[in-house]
């Protein structure tokens, strides 16, 4: 009997050690990166390009435009759209050119924007989120800005799903959860499915004791609950036996 009690209490102890390890191994570092605002100089001369081009859509130098970094400054970007619109006499086509530059060309030129580092993904989110605000401020080009925002949010959430599939523990990391929350705030839900251990740890970190108890109670089958009670009962017995023997030893 004592042998079985010892085995079960060892298993319970190992389970606690495992959960403790899982809990301690989650990265709770919370220094979220921020992008410093700085004044950038104009590098791409769109006026010269438009003057010399016969077919703006076909000849637009996407690589040069991305390399210039001009798209990072709102006033430059707005000026480029306006100049393209004037030349093409069509705002919709001008928007398509800039959309292509700021999405497919940019991701081709800078694949690290959607890399594996959570810090760089947070920076990408902060950059992409600016376009959501531009869309609210500039009604003429709001379609373009919302589309650029959607493109990057879609890539970002896909990446988060892929990262969480490769490493299920990452969903408990502070920065990962921060990014998921920021995405949810702007109504881009990544729909990441957590495994049971991750859900348990997240509720533990958030001190959702009532939820934890309710979920355990509701989700467990009758057999699981019976096993839990038996293990709990044996654990209590074994620990009381252990305490009893320690007290006996002290008394001796």
């Amino acid at each position: 009997m004592k042998k079985y009690v010892l085995i079960i209490s060892s298993v319970v102890l190992l389970l606690f050690i495992f959960m403790g390890y899982k809990l301690l191994s989650t990265n709770q570092e919370n220094n979220v990166p921020t992008v410093k605002t700085q004044t950038l100089t104009r590098n791409f001369n769109i006026g010269a390009f438009l003057k010399n081009s016969n077919d703006v859509v076909k000849e637009f130098p996407y690589d040069k435009y991305i390399a210039s970094g001009d798209y990072q400054t709102y006033s430059f970007l707005r000026n480029d759209i306006d100049q393209l619109s004037n030349k093409l006499k069509d705002n919709s086509t001008a928007q398509s050119v800039i959309y292509e530059a700021l999405t497919n060309s940019l991701i081709k030129g800078k694949p690290a924007l959607i890399g594996s580092e959570i810090d760089s993904l947070i920076v990408t989110f902060q950059w992409a989120d600016k376009f959501r605000i531009y869309a609210e401020a500039d009604s003429i080009n709001s379609n373009l800005y919302s589309a650029v925002n959607e493109f990057w949010m879609s890539k970002l959430t896909d990446r988060l799903v892929a990262i969480s599939s490769e490493n299920s523990n990452i969903v408990n990391n502070f920065k990962f959860r921060y990014l998921i929350t920021k995405c949810n705030e702007v109504k881009y839900s990544a729909s990441i499915n957590n495994n049971s251990i991750s859900k348990f740890i997240q509720n533990l970190l958030n001190s959702n004791w009532t939820h934890l108890f309710r979920q355990t109670w509701n989700q467990a089958s009758k057999l699981q609950l019976s096993l839990l009670f038996i293990i709990g009962f044996i654990t209590i017995i074994s620990y009381s036996l252990l305490i009893k023997s320690i007290i006996k030893l002290i008394k001796k």
């Binding site: 959309y99 919302s146 589309a147 879609s154 959430t157 839900s189 729909s191």
Partner: protein
């Protein structure tokens, strides 16, 4: 005295009339059918004369749960059935693009799988577009426009249209479109998971009338096997239908909410016409009602 009695009787009659559910059963046919190896609970809802209508609750809104939104809305309405709608993630948000009565719930258009974009109109109709075909027609500034919702530039036009038309939109698995089976065998993309299933098919019968069909499979079956069996059944020469406009999947996993009622408002207790999750567990809800 006679007057008071008549008034009282009249009041009782009126109260009884407004409280009891009433709908003409000729628009609703309920049956059990053996389809291949599966017994299927089938509800055929005729859209003839525009009495049968659809409503979709996509999510909790301003802290009000789907259950409470439904209870508030359904007062005085003749409910035919309600069922859980599309899938949702662990965060409780619906998977894929979702708009509730013109209000954005999830902006993220799912670009793989979930090829059905369902649009529930405020007038009680429902339409489904195959996102792979990229040819959804909407009217923008009085101009008919074809949009590819999976292209972010077009998606903005569609979202603006949905918001200004108070449309309700959700994404789900497309199982059949214009008679073609769209579900894939497990090795071709769809899950190999066997589960009970519930589908919504919108079909045309041989008299040319449109019927919405809810098909409930209690046996465990893959999405592909279930869709294939039902597709063949609905288009069999002996079937009353000659066209399936579309067939979409309704969630029976985390939420298996389903209740149906007869013309007198009595809940159908048979297992093929009910789900396993109570209404309180609904994350979204597709409702058919009679008006």
């Amino acid at each position: 005295m006679k007057f008071i009695f008549s008034l009282f009787a009249g009041l009782l009659f009126t109260l009884n009339f407004t409280q009891a559910q009433k709908f003409d059963s000729k628009y609703i046919q309920v049956s059990n059918s053996l389809v291949g190896n599966y017994t299927i609970g089938m509800m055929k809802l005729s859209r003839k004369d525009n009495h049968v209508k659809v409503k979709y609750f996509a999510a909790n809104v301003n802290g009000v749960s789907v259950e409470n939104r439904y209870k508030q809305w359904s007062q005085g309405k003749n409910i035919i059935l309600y069922s859980s709608g599309t899938y949702f993630g662990d965060d409780g948000n619906p998977v894929g693009l979702c708009i509730d009565n013109g209000s954005i719930v999830n902006n993220l258009v799912k670009t793989t799988g979930f090829d059905a974009l369902a649009i529930v109109y405020a007038t009680g109709g429902i339409a489904v577009s195959d996102l792979k075909q990229a040819n959804l027609n909407i009217v923008v500034n009085n101009t008919p426009t074809t949009v590819n919702v999976r292209n972010p530039l077009d998606a903005q036009k569609f979202k603006s249209w949905a918001v200004s038309n108070s449309a309700t939109v959700f994404q789900t698995h497309l199982l059949c479109y214009n008679n073609d089976l769209k579900a894939f065998p497990p090795n071709g993309g769809n899950s190999s998971k066997e589960a009970s299933r519930r589908f919504l098919a919108v079909c045309q019968d041989k008299q040319g009338a449109i019927q919405h069909v809810i098909l409930n499979i209690k046996e465990l079956v893959t999405l592909y096997e279930g869709s294939k069996a039902i597709n063949e059944y609905l288009l069999h020469p002996s079937s009353v239908f000659n066209k399936i406009f579309f067939m979409i999947n309704l969630d029976t996993g985390s939420q298996d909410v389903f209740e149906s009622y007869d013309g007198n408002g009595n809940r159908d207790p048979r297992k093929y016409f009910g789900g396993t999750t109570p209404l309180s567990g609904a994350k979204n809800l597709l409702v058919y009602y009679y008006e």
